[in-house]
């Protein structure tokens, strides 16, 4: 996600923010029970908050990050900090998610490496990093951890949950796991389940990591990292987040610092140079084992099989929130047809749903890039959810009509 992180175009920011931590399930007798049945404890959640919680505690917006994001959604850690949070263009004063109006919470997901417990955390049993002893987690487990955090913060109702990609999956999971606690759901560039294509790309990425001799079945902590494998994994992933149009526009077939082919296997094309750069930058900030866990969680996610549901339509029966579903025209990882399937399942359940397909050529990552239309859409949806201009869906009532023809 860091590829797009830059100062706000209007140079507006929430300013200096602080990363905080909350630890629960500390007592060995009270672990967090995961969807797989495995037990985990203690669990630490890294989180940040922006804005003020209203006295009525009714303005909380939970921002949910995608695969490789973290709790640092907006602002800077210090005056010298060169880079703001990953959604600086969306979260801040007067922005789509307006920190002057809303109390915004973002936490790092379970299994990742953004400060929340994951495979790189120390196991209380061995005193060493969990590595592959860390249990496989699901999107539902991530949401459960977020729910525990909100309870700790004294928030029992969310004005909205907002997320793109894997963050959108968490938002949808929230709407079904805690339907009465979520007023609005904003699901951007997301899906109810990975297609075979999406799983395939994730598997190639995981294989790249596991084929790195430094990976050592996950036990590389304290030694050399599987940097090559992780970089290749990132290169694969990054291509799926872009689009044919975006790559043509950015790079075409232009050569990198040369007039002609090298006739060697060094970098010839600009796109090769760009991907290698992205790969090596990613290695500095992300843990290879975490990449395995979070991609697996995204592959397992399938709302059509949630609980005992036999279809997505059935799965959405408990939903009570109002929904805004947004897809992007050039997203080929979670194409528009997948958002439409989601919208269809919601409509069949008489849910209050809006859908918009935004024209954008930047592929799946379009939700992360500064886009005034998207910011306005998110801001307006939050405002109308807050103002409660909507009536709750009611069962049909019979009434008399007079014939005056």
């Amino acid at each position: 996600m860091s590829e797009y992180v830059s100062r706000d175009v209007d140079d507006v920011s929430i300013g200096i923010v602080e990363k905080k931590f909350y630890t629960f399930a500390e007592a060995p007798a009270a672990p967090l029970v995961l969807e797989s049945g495995a037990e985990l404890g203690p669990v630490t959640v890294a989180y940040e908050t922006y804005g003020q919680l209203s006295p009525r505690r009714d303005n909380a917006v939970l921002v949910l990050h995608a695969l490789t994001g973290d709790c640092h959604a907006a602002g800077y850690y210090s005056k010298a900090d060169p880079k703001p949070g990953w959604w600086e263009n969306m979260v801040g004063p007067g922005k789509g998610i307006d920190t002057d109006r809303y109390f915004v919470i973002c936490s790092s997901i379970l299994g990742s490496c953004g400060g929340t417990t994951g495979p790189g955390s120390t196991s209380p049993v061995t005193g060493k990093p969990y590595a592959l002893d860390f249990p496989v987690v699901t999107v539902g487990d991530m949401v459960e951890v977020q729910h525990r955090l909100l309870k700790h913060l004294g928030i029992d109702r969310l004005l909205a949950v907002v997320g793109g990609s894997l963050g959108g999956m968490q938002a949808l999971e929230w709407s079904l796991r805690y339907p009465a606690q979520v007023d609005g759901v904003i699901a951007l560039a997301t899906t109810m389940r990975h297609s075979a294509l999406a799983i395939a790309f994730n598997e190639v990425s995981r294989q790249a990591i596991m084929a790195d001799p430094n990976w050592k079945h996950g036990n590389y902590y304290g030694g050399p990292k599987p940097a090559t494998g992780l970089a290749v994994a990132r290169m694969i992933g990054h291509v799926t987040y872009l689009s044919d149009e975006a790559l043509r526009r950015k790079f075409g077939r232009r050569l990198q610092g040369k007039e002609d082919f090298s006739f060697e296997f060094d970098i010839d094309f600009q796109v090769e140079s760009y991907l290698r750069h992205q790969g090596s930058k990613f290695v500095e900030r992300f843990d290879a084992n975490s990449f395995l866990y979070v991609t697996k969680a995204s592959d397992y996610f399938d709302l059509g099989r949630r609980d005992d549901a036999t279809s997505a339509v059935e799965a959405f029966a408990p939903a009570r929130s109002r929904f805004l579903v947004v897809s992007f025209t050039s997203d080929w990882l979670y194409p528009t047809y997948q958002s439409r399937e989601l919208v269809r399942a919601l409509k069949k359940n008489r849910a209050d749903v809006s859908f918009c397909e935004i024209k954008a050529d930047s592929g799946h990552d379009a939700f992360l890039i500064t886009n005034r239309r998207l910011s306005a859409l998110v801001g307006n949806f939050l405002a109308s959810t807050r103002d409660g201009t909507r009536l709750p869906a009611a069962p049909p009532e019979e009434e008399e009509d007079e014939v005056d023809s």
């Binding site: 439409r340 307006n380 109308s384 869906a393 009509d401």
Partner: protein, 226 residues
């Protein structure tokens, strides 16, 4: 974005509101809608009708609209809106999701009107349809005496660029509803001025004198329940 005939587009439907207020046919339709009801507006544009109904009658409104910019305007007004083609979007709603489904000035552009209206009567308890009356005397005059295909404010297109693929007369529509076994709950015919903002209800010889027909339909079963 490509606009299909069914979806309607800015060029084919007069704006809902002008400086003078709401389009006359829509103000008639708005009068028919009961307060607090759930309303689906097909080809809702920027959501002016739904927004008006939401403010004045506290309805719960959803629109269907093809054009991204108009969809964004609807969201700005606090409406729920689905971007898409009306013929495919209406298929996904559960039975009786809405109290009213509104199809204003679009029926003449629909490829399969019987099928569409059948679906609308499934997802809504009442379907409100308005269409330009092709047999208005001015059209007859142009066809009968001038020997030209009719051109008017209501039918402003040449044969080579019209999106209107159905020629509908009020009398024919009434017959069609009977033949389909549906029920006309309400019906009115209006004569509008040049800009379509003002008009009056036509009671005498509507098929000759009205520029638009407006009908509220229900299924026979819906009728029996009342």
């Amino acid at each position: 974005m490509k606009s299909t005939p069914e979806g309607g587009s800015a060029a084919t439907i007069p704006p809902v509101t002008t400086d003078d207020g709401m389009r006359f046919d829509l103000s008639v339709i708005a009068d028919w809608v009961e307060p607090g009801s759930r309303v689906l507006d097909l080809g809702c544009g920027e959501g002016d009708l739904l927004s008006y109904l939401q403010q004045e009658k506290n309805i719960c409104g959803t629109g269907i609209e093809m054009v991204e910019a108009k969809v964004l305007s609807c969201i700005e007004k606090g409406l729920s809106v689905l971007q898409g083609d009306i013929t495919s979007e209406v298929e996904d709603f559960a039975t009786a999701t809405f109290d009213y489904v509104i199809l204003s000035q679009t029926l003449q552009q629909v490829y399969a009107p019987a099928q569409l209206l059948h679906t609308l009567l499934t997802i809504g308890r009442r379907v409100v349809v308005s269409f330009p009356n092709f047999t208005h005397w001015r059209n007859r005059w142009q066809l009968g005496w001038q020997g030209r295909a009719p051109l008017s404010k209501q039918l402003p297109f040449e044969w080579y660029n019209t999106p209107n693929i159905r020629i509908i007369a009020i009398t024919d529509f009434r017959q069609f509803v009977n033949k389909m076994g549906w029920r006309i709950v309400k019906e009115t015919a209006i004569n509008t001025d040049h800009h379509d903002q003002h008009g009056n209800v036509v009671r005498l010889l509507p098929n000759l004198r009205a520029t638009y027909g407006i009908f509220m339909l229900a299924t026979k079963e819906q009728g029996e329940q009342e």
